[in-house]
Symmetry: C2
Subunit: 226 residues, 2 copies
């Protein structure tokens, strides 16, 4: 039996979370990868999540259904709202209400079941879209909830939410990932990727990614559809 500590790593199929998984593995954790099927329009990212999980030989990869599309309110889950192709002022329409709170909560539930105290999430507060649930103060507040709201917490366990990317630029994330052997050709960041995972090249998420590869001086392995 493995003596490594277990960790639950949220992986979307994108560049950031793939790098986060690589870091968790480098830090010596036995990795349990978790993805969400939440009605996202770029559902092909779940295929990418599977490829990424497989490439790192995780112990288990679970995909949990959570019907956030029934709530609406975001261009990522509501097909009547268009994904913008220019950077928006303030918090953009791709923000999914309470998404990271929901995802971390489900990760917490799984962590409790498997006896893990460590969660990893690839949030970053540098080259990002200004989502409030990517900030460090939010993560700290969530750790407090985790410790108060679980049996494991009450019985003396202490949950830690790791955010290894939070202070890194996109270029730095890519440099670290390349060092750790992440195959970014497997990942899909685009909000409106097609069914083969080919990217649009114009949404917020694509822009940050393109720029990151340029700044890192790394050849961009992303497949674009035009």
């Amino acid at each position: 039996m493995s003596k490594k500590p277990k960790a639950v790593i949220l992986i979307s199929g994108g560049l950031d979370s793939a790098t986060t998984l690589a870091i968790a593995q480098e830090q010596g954790y036995e990795c349990y990868a978790l993805s969400m099927d939440y009605g996202q329009r770029h559902r092909v990212e779940l295929k990418a999540a599977h490829w990424v999980a497989e490439s790192f030989s995780v112990t288990e990869h679970k995909i949990i259904n959570v019907g956030l599309d029934a709530l609406g309110g975001s261009s990522l889950t509501d097909k009547s709202i268009t994904v913008p192709d220019t950077l928006e002022e303030g918090i953009p329409s791709t923000y999914v209400p309470a998404r990271n709170t929901i995802f971390l909560s489900i990760a917490l539930g799984w962590a409790e079941v498997i006896g893990a105290n460590d969660l990893f999430i690839g949030v970053t507060a540098v080259d990002y879209s200004g989502y409030p649930d990517c900030r460090e103060e939010f993560i700290t507040a969530f750790e407090n909830v985790a410790n108060l709201g679980t049996k494991a917490g009450v019985e003396g366990g202490s949950f830690h939410v790791h955010t290894p990317l939070v202070k890194w630029s996109k270029a730095e994330i890519i440099r670290q990932g390349v060092r750790l052997g992440v195959d970014y050709g497997l990942t899909v960041s685009c909000y409106q990727a097609d069914n083969e995972g080919r990217a649009c090249g114009v949404c917020d998420s694509c822009r940050f990614r393109v720029q990151g590869f340029q700044e890192a001086g790394v050849v961009d392995p992303t497949r674009y559809r035009k």
Copy 2:
């Protein structure tokens, strides 16, 4: 258009949450009822939730899928674990890891979409099963997460999680509910109710309920299957 403030009320179909909905309505909120289809073995409670929501003419009742049964770890979602028919020491097997954190997170997402600042949850820390995510300190910690992790919070909104039952005994809850016209015959509290919503009479949840009606001096309208 209604000028009432909007609130999201988590309703399971059970006695406590039905009473909570009645209280939210009495307090003048426009009520949006939210239930979860999370793989619970007592799935008939969702029928009860529908009956309860209808009896209070809520503005909308949503049932959101969240596949917690894929995580396991609880006798409520894992059919290989038996629901106990005696009170257990400590936190019982019916505890679902991180359940209220997950449900409140999804309620928060909906609240943000509809422009509500108020969430209601029928937790109680008196006649209860010792679940950690029913305690006031957990709720306070969650409010902090809500305000830090949402666009609405960042833009100056302030979320409040109401727990009107938290200090009440089951008998007090029933007395208040009767005063507010709750039809407890519609509600299902049993963890292993049959498909018609008839209760077992022996699980934790049934015991607290039976005793509550006795102490309140109210005729128990629960349908039992034996």
